[in-house]
Symmetry: C2
Subunit: 340 residues, 2 copies
């Protein structure tokens, strides 16, 4: 942890490669005359919560309430903390447009992406190159675009829908800034979930440029697709389905869940709607059901599949199961602007 | 599981020793013309949720939403489910007066308490005998009173405060129906938490009459008190405290938490307010703190103490730690009517 004023005398908090703009928080407190503020951190930043709270209180006389609830995205706003405070600061994610009153304090990565992007260039086969990334690196997109232009490529950075704060930004549940208006993509960032999802959604080449481990390779979505097809097959004999609905502000798709329930019942199987805030395997396995369909965070079915001992399908996968969609039309579950 | 109509043609659902009045639910649906209903079950009844949902739907044409959130008491109402439905049925607990619009579907135990109560009678040394129990057995209090009266005892069944639905009923967080207007108590029910708490609160003899394992003995509160004193001692060197506040409707004691924060700071230690819905050790250990003070469900500090690897104190225990209360004035943490 490092905590300093930069050359503009702004207060920046630095942890690992990430910079968090404390000055933004102080400015909002001043503008709004806030006396009680809420702080909400994603899991990866929770250990910084107390430090950041103390720094704010060294500079401003405010009561601070820290959210202790799990938080995995901007879909997941601590709405009770909005009611209890003058302003809620939500860290590490960009706005998805759900709560206009929340102030999003993004974290920007200082990591240099140029070396790894330079190595992707010799792997490109197309002419029009799309670039996608996560919020930590969106401020590097201009630099990447300039690098590609200097090599004679046409660079495409697409606008996403209303859930997406920055052109070129993708979320685990939203690839609307990767709609394929190009020959292939470079994904800049860590992890394989986002580029795999983008690959399945766009059906185009995605080349990963991972600045954390300096690796560059073309993503292969087939292993994920095969695992999901096996999960669908495992659910063939299920007679009693639970349809999971989260009440988190950006995940509640109750209308979709009701439609899925009717579809399941039309196929002479039972379905119950299970409403919850945080979705955990432990809570769901308390119900006596054969399989779940998840309408909450699309990553749950995929990331937590090993923690469930029964199949958990996405809405798309349920359609394949009941024969309303072809296997070859496998797609990622997304929560797009306007979905409910 | 057994499901039948009783002699009055009322629909009763029976599981183990418990009877749940389904007819009550059908009557409320009819009276209110409800078309969408919510069902919320405590952990011990979650496995019955789908069965009960199906039985209701066999008799009435309603959309059912089942709460999948953890639930440990009538303090813990799924408030979002109230908004999503015409009426929320909350099972297994009696009203604490927090949500007038919720319909509480209590579970009544059929177990015969007479044999075990008969055995307590020869252990009584006083004349005025108080009786306390949990909601599952409150319908047996008249029978117990008659048994004691027949043996010449004066029987006392005290009214609790506004959180307590029935005279003689105790909760893990509220012993207001055991204020000691008698020589000693009989506690009818399972478990040791309630009678231990009543013993510490009243400083009177409590004789357990447990109809589940047929055991009868005088509770000894000393082991719990000693464990808690050790926990207080373990927190002596803590410099950074987290004060846990739950946003659950019957657990939110934010004013108390603010007062505790100021007390801790007066002793030149740091304190941060951590706001959360469900309190779990896993979430709290993400923060870098030396000890917690818990203002949420009073049982958390005691029942979950082994799952935390740092001290978690009740508000009463914090007062002892900072020297504002004598060790000999150790008391249970309670959430009484009007507390906030």
């Amino acid at each position: 942890m490092q905590y300093n004023k930069n050359k503009n005398k702004e207060i920046i908090y630095t942890i690992d490669d990430l910079e968090i703009d404390i000055q933004l928080i102080l400015n909002v407190i001043d503008e709004r005359g806030a006396t009680a503020i809420g702080l909400q951190f994603p899991e990866g930043l929770k250990r910084q919560a107390v430090n950041i709270s103390r720094i704010i209180q060294q500079h401003r006389r405010v009561e601070v309430l820290i959210s202790g609830n799990p938080c995995f995205g901007a879909c997941d706003i601590d709405t009770r903390l909005i009611e209890l405070t003058d302003v809620l600061f939500h860290f590490g994610h960009s706005s998805q447009g759900f709560c206009k009153e929340v102030v999003y304090v993004e974290a920007r990565s200082k990591i240099d992406v140029a070396p790894v992007v330079a190595r992707t260039i010799k792997m490109l086969s197309g002419k029009r190159i799309g670039i996608i990334t996560t919020v930590q690196h969106v401020h590097k997109l201009q630099e990447i675009q300039d690098m590609l232009a200097a090599e004679g490529f046409e660079c495409v950075i697409e606008e996403g829908d209303a859930h997406i704060a920055y052109p070129g930004q993708v979320l685990g549940c939203n690839f609307s800034a990767a709609r394929g208006n190009c020959d292939e993509y470079i994904y800049v960032g860590g992890g394989e979930f986002h580029p795999t999802g983008a690959s399945i959604t766009t059906r185009k080449n995605i080349i990963i440029a991972n600045p954390y481990n300096n690796s560059v390779y073309k993503i292969n979505p087939e292993p994920l697709i095969r695992r999901r097809c096996a999960m669908i097959a495992k659910a063939f004999d299920a007679a009693n389905f639970g349809i999971i609905v989260s009440t988190k502000i950006g995940q509640e798709r109750l209308a979709l869940a009701g439609a899925l329930k009717r579809k399941i019942e039309e196929h002479n199987k039972n379905a119950d709607l299970i409403i919850m805030d945080l979705v955990t395997p432990e809570q769901l396995l308390g119900f006596k059901l054969d399989a779940f369909v998840n309408t909450a965070c699309p990553r749950i079915a995929i990331d937590d599949s090993k923690r469930f001992n029964i199949p958990v399908l996405t809405p798309v996968e349920l359609e394949i199961l009941i024969g309303e969609r072809e296997w070859k039309e496998f797609a990622m579950d997304e929560i797009l602007a306007g979905d409910r």
